[in-house]
């Protein structure tokens, strides 16, 4: 079993953006952490239209592959 190389693998404090995969970053900065609502863009991950665009984008980040399972996923 090959040890997977992770972008940052130290025990230091949470570090900067270098090498953090974009999909993992977007999972966190967009889809979660909604504590409060802003005035102009309100929790953009909750807006269905934006979520759709984001979904399309994430697929393109991943080389536009079909879902691994025909029904859209196992989980």
């Amino acid at each position: 079993m090959t040890r997977q190389v992770v972008p940052w693998d130290s025990s230091g404090p949470p570090v900067g953006p270098i090498g953090v995969p974009l999909v993992d970053l977007l999972d966190r900065v967009l889809a979660t952490g909604v504590v409060i609502s802003g005035d102009l863009v309100i929790a953009i991950a909750d807006v269905p239209l934006v979520r759709l665009s984001l979904h399309a984008l994430l697929s393109s980040v991943n080389d536009r592959v079909p879902a691994p399972w025909a029904d859209g996923g196992p989980l």
């Binding site: 997977q4 972008p7 953009i44 665009s53 080389d63």
Partner: protein, 271 residues
């Protein structure tokens, strides 16, 4: 020429994080999401918001729609946001806010954020001395290449090639075997994912499952778990050990990423 209601002049306040005992030295040199103004602190009472003044016209719904369809632009903003949040969180207890949290000016930001002070305090308490760790499990599908010998062809007197009798049945059998192997390996991978999640949950303070990512076509692996965990800093070593143990035990490929600022564990906290 300027339009009478020129929106490009309107300023908005972009908020990166809310923190306690703010240490601005960490962010003073960072560009943030615009070159127009520096990243600064906005006092909220006991807490401090880390903010930047931006042009409202650049942060409308339409502007975000355009940005979401432009991967480079989105990536630039996501990394700029993350850079400021990470720098703040490295120096002082901080609640990361989602990308593109904006208010109509500093007064409005102070008013709105101050109302949530109890909630921010509760979040700070929850994530104190904790970091977030991402964990992904991949299944490697069994080879689709048939292991059975290829059907033997014979040459008939007429010179045409035709399959052995029973070749159609053998073909169907091989197809069925491949299908069964695939289903079996998928089941095994999903069981391994559940096992890994259950084991890591015992060590973590909280957990969330994220959307599994599709893999690039060149990568035959299938992501069967994309989860994230809130882990006490003192248990990071244990997490690394447990991950290795689970790799050995399940044979699955497991990727661990972190430490992250606990983005995924600030949303559901109530004051």
């Amino acid at each position: 020429m300027t339009e009478p209601d020129a929106p490009s002049d309107t300023q908005a306040t972009y908020v990166f994080a809310v923190c306690r005992n703010a240490d601005l030295s960490a962010v003073a040199e960072l560009p943030g999401v615009t070159v127009d103004a520096p990243v600064t602190a906005l006092p909220l009472g006991k807490l401090t918001a880390i903010v930047q003044s931006v042009r409202a016209a650049e942060f409308t719904d339409e502007a975000w729609q355009a940005r979401l369809s432009d991967q480079q632009a989105l990536e630039r903003y996501a990394r700029a946001h993350h850079e400021v949040v990470s720098a703040v969180a490295a120096r002082c207890p901080a609640v990361p806010l989602p990308m593109a949290t904006l208010y109509h000016g500093e007064d409005r930001a102070r008013e709105a954020l101050s109302q949530e002070e109890g909630r921010f305090e509760a979040v700070l308490k929850r994530i104190e001395r904790h970091t977030e760790w991402g964990l992904k499990v991949y299944a490697t599908p069994s080879s689709p290449v048939d292991t059975a010998p290829a059907p033997v062809h014979r040459v008939t007197p007429t010179g045409r090639s035709s399959p052995e009798p029973g070749a159609g049945l053998a073909y169907l059998n091989r197809k069925r075997d491949v299908q069964e192997r695939r289903e079996r390996s998928t089941d095994e991978a999903l069981r391994a994912a559940d096992l890994v999640d259950a084991e890591v949950c015992r060590l973590a303070a909280a957990s969330r499952r994220l959307r599994p990512h599709p893999q690039p076509s060149a990568d035959r692996r299938v992501q069967v778990l994309n989860a994230t965990y809130l882990v006490d800093e003192r248990r990071t070593g244990e997490l690394a050990l447990l991950t290795q143990t689970l790799r050995d035990r399940t044979g699955a490929q497991i990727e661990l990423s972190g430490p992250w600022v606990p983005y995924s564990f600030v949303g559901e906290v109530q004051p």
